[in-house]
C-alpha cells in the first residue's frame, strides 16, 4: 500500500492537512510526513498535490504561514491553523465521523462477511 498514491476522496486532503497541523505548526515536508504517520502510511501526499492545497487553504484563510528554521537549520515555510481553520477542522471531523459510521454500517465492516 505504501508508495502508491491513493485516490484521495475529494476534500480528504484538506481535512488531513488540518488535522496534521492541529497540534503544532509544520513545514511542507513535515505536513507530508505527519499525514503519513497519522494514516499508518496509507497516504503519501506528494508535493504536486500538497503545495497547491496548502496555498489554496491559506488563501481561504484556514492557514497562516511564516518563515522559520527546520531541523537541519534550513529556512522553510511553516504553516499553522487559524481560528477559521480550527473551526473548519471541527465541522469536517464531525462530518467524517458521520460518513464513516454510515459507510461502516452499510458495508457491514466488522462482520467478517468477506
Amino acid at each position: 500500500m505504501a508508495g502508491a498514491e491513493s485516490d484521495l476522496l475529494q476534500g480528504t486532503l484538506d481535512v488531513l492537512i488540518l488535522k496534521a497541523l492541529a497540534l503544532q505548526e509544520l513545514h511542507g515536508m513535515g505536513v507530508s510526513r505527519r499525514i503519513g504517520q497519522m494514516t499508518n502510511g496509507a497516504f503519501d501526499v506528494k508535493a504536486g498535490s500538497l503545495f497547491p492545497a496548502l496555498h489554496r487553504m491559506e488563501q481561504a484563510g484556514w492557514l497562516t504561514s511564516s518563515w522559520g528554521h527546520a531541523e537541519t537549520n534550513r529556512r522553510a515555510k511553516f504553516y499553522a491553523l487559524t481560528k477559521a481553520g480550527r473551526k473548519h477542522l471541527r465541522t469536517e471531523t464531525n462530518r467524517w465521523a458521520r460518513i464513516s459510521l454510515a459507510m461502516g454500517a452499510a458495508l457491514g465492516v466488522g462482520q467478517e462477511a468477506l
Binding site: 513545514h27 511542507g28 515536508m29 510526513r33 506528494k46 508535493a47 504536486g48 503545495f51 497547491p52 496555498h55 489554496r56 491559506e58 488563501q59 481561504a60 484563510g61 527546520a70 531541523e71 537541519t72 534550513r74 529556512r75 522553510a76 515555510k77
Partner: protein, 906 residues
C-alpha cells in the same frame, strides 16, 4: 473574506515576491526530503536524485500553485491584452481602419445621444423631477389662450386649493422684460412665478432667499426678484453683496432677495429664465394684459405644475382631478362670459374637457426635437450597425487567414474558450480605442452642431453642452461593448471551431470557404440598411427643398425685420403710438429704404393671434379653426409685396367711425363662399361684452404664410393699427433698395439714435429669419444625407470585399472554366449574377423595411408622402449603381484570370 482580499492584493502586486517565496519553499522541501534520506544512510548524490524525482517536476508544482491564486483570471487577461496588442500592431492598416471606422460610428452615436439626452431624456434639475407634472386642460377652452398648456388664473386657484393629489402646486408665466444698463437697454427672459414655485420644485437659494408666500399674496405689493445663478454671474459679476441691491425692470425698481441654485434656469429649457418675479407683480412685468386682477376665466395664460404625493401615479391623479375640473367647468358654463358667445352645443363640447397630466419636464423645445433627435440617433445607430457588419466581415476574413495560428494553439492544448476570449479581447481593444477617439469626435461634432443650430449669442446660455457627462460616457461604453460583441463574437465563435488537421495540413494555397455564406448575409443586411438610410436622406432633403421652395407667399429678398416694445421701457400707450408714427417717418426718410411697414404680430416666428369671429351666418369655433389676426400699418401689404386681389388696402384715414378689415382669400372662401367678400361684415368674439358684427371688409389679399412655412394657408384678417389704442410693441418690416444685409448695421445705429432706451430685438433679414426657422429641417436633412452617403460607402466596401474574396477563392475554378472555353463575358456574367442577387435581395428587404417604418417619420416631412415611390426608386437606383460598380471590379478581375497561372497554383 479579508484573507481572500489580501491574497488577491498580493497576487496582483507582489507576484515576484510570491514566486520567489514559492521557489524557496519548494527548494526547502526537496532539501528536507534529501536530508531525511541521508539520515537513513543513502549516499548524498542518490538522496538528492531521489528527492527530486519524488517531488515530481518543480515547474509543474509551481504552475499548479499559480493557477490556484485568486485573481489568476486577471493575469490571463493581461496576457491576452498583451498578445492582442501585438497582433493588432502586426497589421496596422487593418487595426487603423477598424478603429477609425468604430471611432466615427461610436462618435456619431455618442454625439447624437448627448443631444437627445440633454434635450429630450433628462428631467429638470430639481428634487424628484419624476413627481412633477404639468396640469393642462384638453379640448376647446372657448376663450383666449397663451398656448396649449395654459389655464386661467382662477382655474389654477381652484385646482390648487381643492385637489387631493398634489403635495404642492404652483404656476408660472414666461415674460420678456426690459432692463436698463448704462445708457443701453436690453430684454431678458423673466419667469413670473406663484409663491410655491421654489418650495414645490425643491430649488434652494445659494444667496439670500427664494420667493415666499408673503412676497406673493397682494398684487403689486412686493417688487422683489430672485436671480438665476448664470444671470447673477454674467450681469452682476457674481457680486456676493447683491442681495438688497435694486435694479430696474420695465422701469420699476426691483430689489434682489436671492440667487437660485446653480444649474436651475426655470422650468422651460429652450427659454432659460434670468430672473424670477412673484406673479403678483404681473401688471408691472407685462403692462399690456392683466389676467391676474381681472380674473377672467376665458383667458388662459398660466402653466400649472403639481408635485404628485408620494406613491401616486399620474393616472390616479388624473382620475382624481377630473371631477374637480368638471365642477369648475359647470360653474364656468353658467357665467355670462361663456354664455355670451357659446351655444348650447358648445356647452356640451366644453363640459367634455378633461384634465391631462404631462411630465413636468416637458417643454416646447423638447416636444419639437423629440422626433428629429430620436430619428437622427436611429440613423447613426444604423450607420454603426453597417460599420459593425463591415468589421465583422474583416474579422471573418482575417480569422480565415489566421486559421493556422488557431489550429496550432488548439493543437498545443489551448481551450476553445480561450481562443474566443483572445479574439473578443482583440475586438474590445479596437472598440476601446475607437471609443476614446469617438468621444473626442462627439465633442467636436456637438459643438459644431450647436454653433450651426443656435444663434451665436445663444450658444453659451443654452442648457445643452457638448461636454460629455456620466450618462453620455456610460452610453459610449455601452455602445463599445455592444459593437465588440456584434462584430467580434461571430467571427470569434467561428474561428474557435477550426479543425486542427486540415488547417495544419498543406493546403497548397487553396483558401477555405470559412464564413462565406455568413459574409453574404452580412452584405445583404448592409444593402437593406443603406437603402433605408438613402431613402430617409432623400425624403428629408426633398422636404427641406419643398419648404424652401414654397416660401412665405411674398418676396423676401429685400426685407429686414426687427421688434421693439416701447411699453416695456415705460412709455404709455399714447406715447407708444406716436413713437411708432415718428419711427415710420424717420425710417422712411433713411437713404436706401423703399418702404416701412409695422405689424403687432411678428410673422413666421411660430406665434399667432387667434380669435373666434362671428357674422350673420357663422359664430364661435374651436381655436384650431379660428382665423389668425394682426394689426398693421397702411403700407404693410405693399412693403411685404402681398398682392391685393379685390377692394383696397388701408389708408391712414381708416380709423373711424367704422372698423375696417382686410382679409385673405382663405378667409373670404371660408366665411363668405360664393359671395363678394368686400363690404361684408364680421365681429371678434369677446367674453367681456356682447359683440355685433360691424367690422367691414374693404379688401382681399392673396394667401400667405403666417405662423410658419409648414402651415397650409389659414384664414387671416388684418386691422389698421392706427385704429387701436393699446399698442405695446410692434414688429417692423423694412424693404430696402439694395442688399438688406449691408443695411443691418446702419439700421441698428439709426435706431440707437432714434431712441437709445428702447431695445431693438431680433434684427435680421427675413431671408435669414426663414432660414433660421428651417434649422431643424436643415439639420435633419444634412445629417441624414451624410449618414446615407457613409452608409452606402460602407455597404459598397462590404460588397466589394466579399466579392473580391469569392473571386480569389475561385481562381482555380475560373481558370478551368476559361481553359475549357468559357468566354470572358460568361465569367463576368457569372460573378455579376451573384452581385446582382446580393443587391436585389438586400434592396428588396430594404424596401419592405422602408415601407414598414415610413409612418414613423411622417410628421417630419413636408410636401411629399412618407412612402414616396420616386424617392424610394431613386434611392434603390443610386445604391444599385454604386454597388454594381463595386461588384464589377472583382468580376472583371475574374475574367482576366490566366488559366495557366491559375492551374499552376496547385
Amino acid at each position: 473574506m479579508i484573507s481572500r482580499l489580501r491574497a488577491f492584493w498580493n497576487n496582483l502586486f507582489r507576484r515576484k515576491q510570491l514566486d520567489r517565496d514559492l521557489d524557496e519553499e519548494l527548494q526547502a522541501y526537496v532539501e528536507l526530503v534529501a536530508a531525511e534520506k541521508l539520515r537513513s544512510g543513502m549516499d548524498p548524490e542518490e538522496a538528492h536524485r531521489q528527492a527530486r524525482r519524488q517531488t515530481g517536476g518543480i515547474d509543474q508544482v509551481v504552475q499548479n500553485v499559480r493557477d490556484l491564486r485568486t485573481g489568476v483570471g486577471l493575469d490571463r487577461l493581461a496576457q491576452d491584452v498583451k498578445f492582442g496588442l501585438r497582433t493588432l500592431a502586426k497589421n496596422p492598416t487593418f487595426s487603423l481602419v477598424a478603429a477609425g471606422t468604430l471611432a466615427l460610428g461610436i462618435g456619431a452615436n455618442t454625439a447624437m445621444f448627448s443631444l437627445l439626452d440633454q434635450v429630450v431624456l433628462k428631467l429638470l434639475p430639481v428634487s424628484h423631477p419624476e413627481q412633477l407634472v404639468i396640469v393642462r386642460e384638453t379640448g376647446n377652452h372657448f376663450g383666449n389662450s397663451y398656448g396649449p398648456n395654459t389655464i386661467s388664473w382662477p382655474m389654477f386657484e381652484d385646482l390648487r386649493d381643492n385637489n387631493q393629489v398634489f403635495s404642492g402646486m404652483f404656476c408660472r408665466f414666461p415674460a420678456s422684460v426690459a432692463i436698463g444698463y448704462g445708457d443701453r437697454a436690453g430684454q431678458i427672459s423673466a419667469e413670473l412665478v406663484s409663491s410655491a414655485y421654489f418650495q414645490t420644485l425643491g430649488v434652494r437659494a445659494i444667496l439670500g432667499r427664494t420667493i415666499s408666500h408673503d412676497d406673493d399674496s397682494v398684487p403689486d405689493s412686493k417688487p422683489v426678484v430672485v436671480l438665476s445663478y448664470s444671470f447673477w454671474q454674467s450681469y452682476f459679476g457674481a457680486d456676493p453683496h447683491v442681495v438688497g441691491r435694486t435694479f430696474a425692470i420695465n422701469g420699476h425698481p426691483m430689489t434682489v432677495i436671492g440667487v437660485a441654485q446653480p444649474g436651475f434656469d426655470g422650468v422651460e429649457m429652450g427659454n432659460p429664465a434670468k430672473v424670477f418675479v412673484p406673479i403678483m407683480m404681473k401688471t408691472e412685468m407685462t403692462p399690456h394684459s392683466d389676467g391676474l386682477k381681472d380674473r377672467r376665466r376665458r383667458l388662459s395664460w398660466v402653466t400649472a405644475y403639481g408635485r404628485l404625493k408620494p406613491g401616486l401615479t399620474a393616472e390616479q391623479a388624473q382620475a382624481s382631478l377630473q371631477p374637480l375640473l368638471h365642477g369648475i367647468l359647470e360653474i364656468e358654463a353658467q357665467q355670462p362670459e361663456f354664455t355670451r358667445s357659446a351655444t348650447s352645443a358648445d356647452r356640451q363640447v366644453f363640459l367634455r374637457n378633461r384634465i391631462q397630466l404631462l411630465s413636468g419636464s416637458d417643454n416646447g423645445l423638447r416636444e419639437d426635437m423629440r422626433t428629429p433627435l430620436w430619428l437622427l440617433l436611429a440613423l447613426t445607430g444604423a450607420v454603426l450597425l453597417l460599420a459593425c457588419a463591415n468589421l465583422a466581415n474583416l474579422f471573418l476574413a482575417r480569422a480565415t487567414a489566421r486559421e493556422r495560428e488557431f489550429a496550432v494553439r488548439l493543437a498545443i492544448g489551448a481551450g476553445r474558450a480561450r481562443i474566443v476570449r483572445q479574439l473578443l479581447v482583440e475586438s474590445l481593444l479596437l472598440s476601446g480605442g475607437g471609443t476614446l477617439v469617438g468621444l473626442a469626435l462627439a465633442f467636436v461634432a456637438d459643438r459644431t452642431l450647436l454653433r450651426i443650430y443656435l444663434p451665436a449669442d445663444a450658444v453659451n446660455e443654452f442648457a445643452v453642452s457638448p461636454i460629455p457627462d456620466v450618462r453620455v460616457l456610460a452610453f459610449a461604453v455601452g455602445v463599445m461593448l455592444l459593437t465588440s460583441v456584434v462584430f467580434g463574437l461571430l467571427p470569434a465563435v467561428r474561428s474557435s471551431r477550426t479543425e486542427i488537421t486540415p488547417s495544419l495540413g498543406d493546403r497548397s494555397g487553396a483558401l477555405s470557404a470559412g464564413g462565406t455564406s455568413l459574409r453574404r448575409i452580412l452584405v445583404g443586411i448592409q444593402m437593406s440598411l443603406s437603402l433605408l438610410l438613402l431613402f430617409a436622406a432623400g425624403l428629408f432633403v426633398r422636404t427641406l427643398r419643398n419648404l424652401e421652395n414654397v416660401g412665405p407667399g411674398f418676396p423676401t429678398g429685400h426685407l429686414l425685420t426687427f421688434t421693439t416694445t416701447p411699453t416695456l421701457s415705460g412709455y404709455s400707450y399714447d406715447e407708444t403710438k406716436s413713437w411708432y408714427e415718428r419711427l415710420s417717418v424717420n425710417l422712411q426718410a433713411m437713404p436706401g429704404v423703399e418702404s416701412v411697414a409695422l405689424s403687432t404680430m411678428p410673422i413666421l416666428r411660430g406665434f399667432a393671434w387667434q380669435n373666434a369671429i362671428l357674422g350673420k351666418s357663422f359664430e364661435g369655433m374651436p381655436i384650431e379653426q379660428q382665423p389668425c389676426l394682426s394689426q398693421v400699418s397702411p403700407d404693410y401689404f405693399t412693403t411685404l409685396g402681398i398682392p391685393l386681389i379685390a377692394g383696397r388696402a388701408f389708408t391712414p384715414r381708416d380709423v373711424a367711425p367704422t372698423d375696417y378689415a382686410v382679409v385673405n382669400e382663405s378667409f373670404a372662401r371660408e366665411y363668405f363662399p360664393r359671395r363678394n367678400p368686400v363690404g361684408q361684415r364680421f365681429g371678434l368674439v369677446d367674453d367681456m361684452r356682447t359683440v355685433t358684427p360691424n367690422t367691414e371688409i374693404i379688401g382681399v389679399i392673396a394667401d400667405t404664410k403666417y405662423r410658419d412655412l409648414r402651415e397650409t394657408p389659414h384664414a387671416q384678417a388684418y386691422f389698421p393699427y392706427l385704429a387701436i389704442s393699446n399698442i405695446r410693441g410692434m414688429t417692423a418690416y423694412v424693404r430696402t433698395k439694395g442688399d438688406p444685409r449691408e443695411f443691418e448695421n446702419a439700421l441698428r445705429e439709426r435706431m440707437r439714435q432714434f431712441d437709445p432706451h428702447v431695445p431693438v430685438v431680433d434684427l435680421q433679414t427675413v431671408t435669414e429669419q426663414i432660414g433660421f426657422s428651417l434649422r431643424t429641417e436643415r439639420l435633419v436633412a444634412s445629417l441624414s444625407a451624410v449618414f446615407g452617403g457613409v452608409a452606402t460607402l460602407l455597404a459598397v466596401i462590404g460588397l466589394y470585399g466579399v466579392m473580391a474574396y469569392a473571386v480569389l477563392r475561385r481562381t482555380r475554378e475560373i481558370g478551368i472554366r476559361i481553359a475549357l472555353g468559357a468566354l470572358r463575358s460568361n465569367v463576368v456574367a457569372m460573378i455579376m449574377r451573384e452581385v446582382l442577387l446580393l443587391i436585389g435581395c438586400g434592396s428588396a428587404a430594404g424596401v419592405v423595411l422602408a415601407l414598414a417604418l415610413a409612418s414613423l417619420i411622417r410628421s417630419q416631412l413636408y410636401g411629399l408622402n412618407a412612402r414616396d415611390p420616386s424617392t424610394l426608386i431613386g434611392a434603390a437606383i443610386v445604391l444599385a449603381l454604386a454597388a454594381g460598380l463595386a461588384g464589377l471590379i472583382p468580376a472583371l478581375r475574374a475574367s482576366s484570370v490566366d488559366p495557366t497561372t491559375a492551374l499552376r497554383q496547385e
